[in-house]
Amino acid sequence: MNFNDNQIDALTEIINIGVGRAAGSLSDLIGERIELHVPVVRVGKFEDMAAQFIVVDDTIEAAVIQDFRGGLQGRAILAFPHESGVKLGQLILKLDSGEAELSEDISGVLEEVGNIVLNGVVGSISNLAGAELSYSVPKLCMGQRIEKIVEAEISRHPTVEQYLVMADARFCVSQRDIDGSLLLVLDALMIKAMLSAVLGQYA
């Protein structure tokens, strides 16, 4: 099954509503304006999109994972390449730039940032889907291959057809752009239903 442009646009919009809210929360938390955009969204079957992992695979170092169950089930992941993760942590904690490691404090901050962003995004989706969700506590995962994290979730529900939503998440802090990757593993039927509902509403 393929998604047409309208559907992709709608999905992009939904996710951006979520990250927009998250950016507001982050700015409040840090006391400095943080902007967050998700410019391009791709959606498809895991197998079809596996090629794109090759690009990010080796460089992903830190990923925040939150699972959700209830009316909608799936996994939300915010992943940072090593340098971006370190840079984002430094900017938020105002550390000097000599630090090169994803140390205890920086990974803690990334975890909280991921927590806020993922809650925003998933919250936005669940609102539209009208689903009541329960979430897992966010979990920071270091040095794992991102496709394994995705695969683990997919294999947990072998009977359900699942789609992967992949998006570039661009943080702008202190006039610096920092790129991360946002990944959502979602029930394919749910996505379609949700998009139909949304598009129907606006049609």
Binding site: G98, E104, S134
Partner: protein
């Protein structure tokens, strides 16, 4: 993921089992559950906190970042984490055994407890240790990083310098061995461009005894010890059998470490085989000699074979075919008279005493013609310095020699003629010249002495300024006088003697100037009435002190003005009247003035009469000689230099007049000064009397003027700087001191351009760098308008002229007299129109 099934707070007790802090709170932070760990951490029991809001106990939870985040999480009804780095701690926990402000670092997780989301579970994890370790790690890492960077830099520097050393070494063509104190070769740098450089690698780790022949090795070891000990490089020439032949080396041994030396061995085998080089030199020589018209010879001394080039044969007039090609062949051609000299020169050159360079004659064998030749030769030597051959050139200088001889002959003739003429002329002028010379010598001796004194003027007077000035300052200091009555008398003595010394100096200098012909009179309109009045004013105080009657009589009308020098006239009169008062114990002194006409020429006569001790005819005779006071006892009794009369007489003569004296011992003396006034018709005569009042009584001394002005003082002597500025400041002035003319110009122009010019500049005339004359001229050239007062120790009139010519407004003499200085400044300060 179902909600945990703890429906109420009692069941919450299960959380006591966890090693984490855990509590249940509602959205207002009211506590519904509180586990044992939190009781331990906070010291608050479950009962104490139950149903109370944590915001009441912990102010940081009532609002701010943490509370916002808490609300956000509760609102989202999804779990949230509070990172330790951003929030520090959720509940402040004082850590035991630590500094008071050391709080536990906490990571806090909040998750909805019920479906409504109005109760949340807060789980708190102690991550202090991890954070502490992190910070220590960071600190360590910083140190490591900087240490590493340093090491890296050092390594880079080392490798750079090593590279340089290597490059340097490889640029040296010589064989270099590093040898340690035990004589072991620890490193080898093979020679470049040498057929046997490859084999030198085997010297590595060999003893010098394995590398060199035993005598060389022994010598080297000995030298090595010396070099290591003294640090001074040594040299060792040696031979080494290499590849079937013997190579010769010049070795240098230098210390390259505390326990090692470097042997730098230059292969000089080739240098000692010079034949090829020699051939090339000869080719070059030939080209040069052809151009210069030189003949070339090459004499193989060992084989006694003499080679000449073509030009040599031409020069000597010898056929190549009949030439014997040996030293003797040359010997035969040399003029017998010159042979000895030429051979001596030749053998000196062979022995290395000097280069071969000589001039000799030859006799051409076929024609008997005599030619002049010069010869230059260079000796080529063997290894031990033995002469192997001589190569050199001859040049035929016969023509030149002839010309020179001719020239010398004509020159000698001309010279002889001229000398004869000169001798004649000399004879004629000799008598005159001798006479003149004797006269000149006599005069110049006197002048030299006088000039020396005149030149010393400044140097002598300057210290006197300081001595008298400071004495005056002390005596005018009422507080000082009050405290030190005894010293006042002493100071008075100092002042009196100082003044006397100064008078002496002034007289002496004036006389010197006169004798050095450096004294000049200025011809100015001179008003006799005014001069006499000034003399009277000056002298009468002394008369009053001695209770003498001092009177001035104008016995006729006198010229209103006549051309003379008022300064000198005044000096003459002061001297004569001063003497009269000095030598008169009682009675009176009179100064009479009258105008007389002699042959249509007017004369002015000043007669000074006293009723003093008088003089005998003998005394009168020497009166006008320098130091000719009547007798030595007079000096003791009356003081004075004995120069005054001499000077006065010279002045009178310079003014075209004379001084006459009449005296009778015990009855008094009369001095009469006569000065020419000029043609009678041109003289305007006036009735003259002194103003009535001044004679009656000594007027009260006028108060010293206040000088409220900004004054620039240019003066190089520190004593005078201090003295003059003290005098000026006491008078109310603000003084800026500079120490040479250049600084004075800078300061004056800067102040002027800056809009607040100095009111007066006091300019010492003799200063280093730029003197007062130059400085004043410079300022006037730059249109400086303000008054400049010259300070000069050269008190005579010529100097005054010079000061005024340079652009000074007025002048004051050194030693500085306070009153005179202040009055001069005061009058300079008055507007020109006044």
């Amino acid at each position: 993921m179902p909600y945990p099934s703890f429906p109420d707070s009692t069941s919450f007790a299960a959380f006591d089992l966890l090693p984490l802090g855990a509590c249940l709170v509602d959205r207002n932070l009211r506590v519904l559950g509180w586990n044992r760990v939190l009781e331990e951490w906070t010291g608050l029991s479950r009962a104490e906190v139950q149903n109370t809001s944590l915001a009441d106990k912990y102010p940081h939870l009532s609002d701010g970042r943490l509370r916002n985040r808490f609300n956000q999480i509760v609102e989202s009804r999804s779990p949230g984490v509070l990172s330790a780095a951003l929030h520090g701690c959720f509940l402040p926990v004082q850590l035991p055994g630590d500094t008071p402000d050391a709080l536990m670092v906490q990571k806090t997780t909040i998750r909805p407890w019920n479906r409504a989301g109005d109760v949340v579970l807060v789980v708190i994890e102690d991550v202090t240790v991890a954070f502490r370790q992190l910070h220590e790690l960071r600190a360590d890492k910083h140190e490591l990083v900087s240490a590493f960077a340093q090491l890296k830099a050092q390594a880079a520097a080392l490798s750079a310098s090593e590279t340089r050393v290597q490059a340097f070494l490889s640029a040296i063509p010589d064989l270099i061995l590093r040898i340690n104190a035990d004589g072991l070769c620890i490193d080898v740098k093979p020679p470049t461009d040498s057929a046997w450089s490859a084999m030198t690698h085997q010297f590595q780790n060999r003893s010098v005894f394995e590398i060199f022949t035993p005598p060389v090795a022994s010598e080297l070891v000995e030298l090595l010890g010396q070099v290591l000990k003294s640090g001074e490089p040594g040299t060792i020439p040696f031979q080494m059998p290499i590849a079937g032949s013997v190579a010769e080396f010049d070795g240098r041994v230098v210390r390259s470490g505390t326990q090692e030396v470097m042997l730098i061995a230059a292969d000089v085998t080739d240098r000692r085989h010079f034949d090829e080089e020699l051939l090339i030199s000869r080719e070059r020589l030939k080209m040069a000699t052809d151009l210069a018209g030189l003949g070339v010879f090459d004499w193989d001394i060992v084989k006694n074979r003499l080679d000449w080039d073509d030009r040599m044969f031409q020069m000597y007039g010898v056929d190549r075919d009949s030439f014997e090609s040996a030293y003797e062949a040359w010997q035969k051609t040399v003029h017998p008279e010159d042979l000895l000299t030429a051979e001596v020169e030749l053998h000196s050159a062979l022995q290395g005493l000097r280069d071969f360079r000589t001039v000799f004659r030859i006799v051409r064998p076929q024609t008997g013609e005599v030619r002049w030749l010069t010869a230059n030769g260079h000796v080529v030597r063997g290894v031990n310095g033995e002469p192997l051959r001589m190569i050199g050139v001859n040049r035929d200088i016969t023509d030149r020699k002839r010309r020179e001889d001719q020239l010398a002959k004509s020159y000698a003739e001309v010279k002889a003629a001229r000398e004869a003429l000169e001798a004649h002329a000399k004879l004629l002028s000799a008598t005159n010249e001798e006479l003149a010379e004797a006269h000149r010598q006599a005069q110049s001796a006197t002048r030299a002495k006088s000039e020396f004194l005149a030149n010393m003027s400044h140097e002598i007077r300057t210290p006197m300024t300081a001595i008298l000035g400071y004495t005056d300052l002390l005596l005018q200091d009422e507080a000082f006088v009050g405290r030190n009555p005894a010293q006042v008398a002493n100071l008075e003595t100092v002042r009196r003697n100082g003044q006397h010394l100064l008078e002496l100096i002034n007289d002496l200098l004036d006389l010197s100037k006169i004798e050095a012909n450096r004294m000049q009179v200025e011809w100015l309109p001179t008003a006799p009435l005014k001069v006499v009045h000034e003399v009277y004013e000056l002298i009468k105080v002394r008369a009053v002190e001695k209770q003498l009657d001092f009177q001035v009589h104008f016995e006729s009308v006198v010229p209103e003005s006549f051309p003379s020098d008022p300064t000198r006239l005044k000096q003459i009169l002061i001297n004569l009247v001063g003497n009269a008062i000095k030598f008169t114990m009682q009675g009176q002194v009179t100064l009479s003035v009258r105008y007389r006409l002699i042959d249509e020429v007017g004369w002015l006569e000043f007669a000074v009469r006293d009723s003093g001790i008088g003089m005998s005819p003998d005394q009168l005779e020497n009166l006008f000689q320098p130091f000719g006071q009547a007798d030595a006892s007079t000096t003791r009794r009356f003081g004075g230099t004995g120069l005054g009369l001499t000077i006065s007489k010279r002045f009178a003569e310079m003014l075209g007049g004379s001084i006459l004296v009449e005296s009778e011992l015990g009855r008094g003396t009369t001095f009469q000064v006569s000065l020419p006034v000029g043609e009678h018709q041109q003289v305007r005569l006036v009735d003259a009397t002194l103003p009535a009042e001044p004679i009656a009584a000594a007027p009260a001394k006028p108060a010293l003027p206040r000088i409220e002005a900004r004054i620039l003082l240019a003066e190089d002597g520190p004593d005078n700087q201090r003295l003059i500025s003290t005098v000026l400041r006491k008078a109310g002035a603000t003084v800026t001191v500079v120490e040479n003319g250049q600084l004075a110009c800078e300061a004056a122009l800067a102040a002027w351009h800056g809009g607040s010019p100095f009111d007066v500049i006091l300019m010492d005339m003799l200063m280093p760098v730029m003197d007062g004359y130059a400085a004043t001229s410079y300022l006037r050239e730059h249109d400086y308008p303000g008054p400049i007062i010259a300070l000069t120790a050269n008190a005579m009139s010529g100097d005054r002229e010079k000061c005024l010519a340079a652009g000074c407004t007025d002048y004051a003499t050194k030693p500085i007299q306070r009153e005179q200085l202040l009055r001069t400044i005061a009058s300079a300060l008055q507007p020109v129109s006044a």
